[in-house]
Symmetry: C2
Amino acid sequence: MIPELIAGLSGLLPAGAVKTGAFDVEPYARDQGPVLTLQSPSAVVWVETVEQVQEVLRWAHTNRVPVVPRGAGTGVSGGAHATTGCIVLNLERMNRIIAVKPLDEIAVVEPGVINADLNTAAARHGLMYAPDPASYRISTIGGNVATNAGGLRCAKYGVTRDSILALDVVLADGTLIHTGVQTFKGVAGYDLTSLFVGSEGTLGIVVGVTVRLRYLPHSEQTLAAFFPNVQAAAAGVLAIGQARVQPAIMELLDGMTLSALDGAHGSNLRGRGGALLLVQTDGFGAEAEAAVVRTVLTSLGGTVDSQDVGEAARLIDLRRHSRGDEVDDEFRVGEDVAVPRSQLVHYIAQLERVAADHSVQLKVVAHAGDGNLHPTFWVSAREGVEGVARLDLALDESVRLALDLGGTITGEHGVGQYKLRWLPWEQGEQVLELQRQIKDVFDPHGILNPGKAITARA
Amino acid sequence: MIPELIAGLSGLLPAGAVKTGAFDVEPYARDQGPVLTLQSPSAVVWVETVEQVQEVLRWAHTNRVPVVPRGAGTGVSGGAHATTGCIVLNLERMNRIIAVKPLDEIAVVEPGVINADLNTAAARHGLMYAPDPASYRISTIGGNVATNAGGLRCAKYGVTRDSILALDVVLADGTLIHTGVQTFKGVAGYDLTSLFVGSEGTLGIVVGVTVRLRYLPHSEQTLAAFFPNVQAAAAGVLAIGQARVQPAIMELLDGMTLSALDGAHGSNLRGRGGALLLVQTDGFGAEAEAAVVRTVLTSLGGTVDSQDVGEAARLIDLRRHSRGDEVDDEFRVGEDVAVPRSQLVHYIAQLERVAADHSVQLKVVAHAGDGNLHPTFWVSAREGVEGVARLDLALDESVRLALDLGGTITGEHGVGQYKLRWLPWEQGEQVLELQRQIKDVFDPHGILNPGKAITARA
């Protein structure tokens, strides 16, 4: 980008807000998603106020400069990857909790607030912000909104969208708008709030978020049930549903995942079973529900450890932080498909077949209550392009299979950049074209996070 | 409309599907909302298949004929009122429950399915369709989707949008599209499903609905607490929240509402208190939660009847069916504002002042857990236009007050036709214009339910 243009932007903002040096911008070139072609941003721009975001957008709109918004960069689909000639708009310093209103059971926050920090503030009032992606200790509310993040608790408490009441959004031309309501219910006009949630920064820049808070549970009960194999554990998920118990958390970990945890933490989980189902019930009925879950899982051949109540909670914590076990000598891609719950057992069996067919490694964790699976496929880096080609074939086949079963390509991570090739497999051309036309309404020059979330016209 | 045009439409459909006689169309000229200027439809068209809906839309699109979609006509905002030169597209015969999938915990229905019928079908599997507008025995799922209907249980279980996973929609030009997913989670592309929910038939005709089902509660506990006045009852709502109990139902009825129920049913509710709070807890913790609620409300001066457990449930049923107590010698308008929960007590006091200032009658019921109030204002028909003018002033002031407190003009009934005058009080011109542009994308000729849900350009 021509230096005069960047100088013009710098002049609109406080000193030091715009950086262009290679070392300065390199950490902001990508998120945690797979990279197809690494691009460097022309500049990284730190903003601290709504007005600054408006200034930047007016400048970008006038000069037709692509803007890639970024929170903590913890996304895993490439939604925050830099693209050609872009600036990265870094919102991490807009991290103030504007208000927690305990009687209204809402909070108002800036987009750079860390999910866990909002929960800490809410907990002082006996409240919680329910959506809890595994990245909750490091990811921002703005990023959670951009991807409509899920998490462990969403089987019972819903995904991010279900906790978002209102948004302040800066549009592509710098206009600030307010969507939604400060109340629990509201149906005035079209649901623009839900349209922005999950749109990955392609329709506007979220600069303010009003969230609904929930009550911190009266009590929690956590069970760990080991099963001989993953199919048996998945059958347990369905049986808990048939007992009409709604756990807050229901996580399924396969044998390879247990081995990986053992390797990282020195535990002996794999020695205790071929799969693990972690179930947490909460609320005034938590104990009664846990008793039902225990009976159901035991009758299906599960081994429910009743000795150490602390262990199950510790395992949930391990599961929450299961990121970061990647090693440098592997190519790996984590997936995020969801299937109808009845297909869980069948789909996991198919995944294992796919991995064997293509000679790739596989481990699977699942937010099983939602039918949302995170299979990770990998090959050794030694296998080079041939290995990557096999990896891609396995990924493609696993996605096709999920769609054939009535599933979706992404339950909670978003399409970003990496999953664009699969979007037309799921959605018809008319639906894709409607989305492009909506994009044109909000962003006529196409400057907002181009090449993300929706497919371009052919 | 010229007869040749109608004849052309009739030729596309089975015999008897199109009616134009004054007696035939008159019952379909309006819904249950206030009528500003009564219009007669040019024709009423009964459709039974998706293909027929597509035929009708193709014809309407080509001939620029306005189409007013209609379910059971139970809406209360005029969203199904006929408009000049329109046809009414009657979807009540598309009433098949296509599938109930108990293991997936979803159902697929046509839009004309009655809410209660879906619940009956789900109950056979221990499941329920949670959204329960007071009209649930007579209203359709398609209508519930069109207005994003709420109901009694949504404090805990969410509104219609929260239970809708996927939609089949016929667009203005007759194209059939599929939005959403058959899974509990899904974030591929923009959330078109939420965009259609609550759009009152102005963006497309919903011809198929995939809903998420919930578990029928393990048990229910219902309490009726009488208070000296409505402010005390409203304070009880906040106290239950501060005790971190989330009831499934929390309904507040003021003294005038109790008197009206007494008049209609021969009860003596008003003699027992100046306001009534009905609370239902459910699930495995229902009894423990009810015990907390009882303690909280008693300590605030509430009289909780513990003798007759059946009575409270009967009162909930009365509340559910409180429609139809209108009498012919009154002009009355029911409102649907929502305010932040902390403002409940203050707002109800303001409502009473407004009614006194304008010498109009007032009664109030509220889905108090959501801060969603249904004040009804009325005057005697004898007061003529002068009375209606006072009624309008009271309505306008009550809406302004709700907005000043951070509220919304409509919590669950929709804008329809009647509330259009209030929409610009809530939403800025940029937000209104974005909605018009979205409308243009979906319906370029403006044939879908014109003059509803969003305001036209000035």
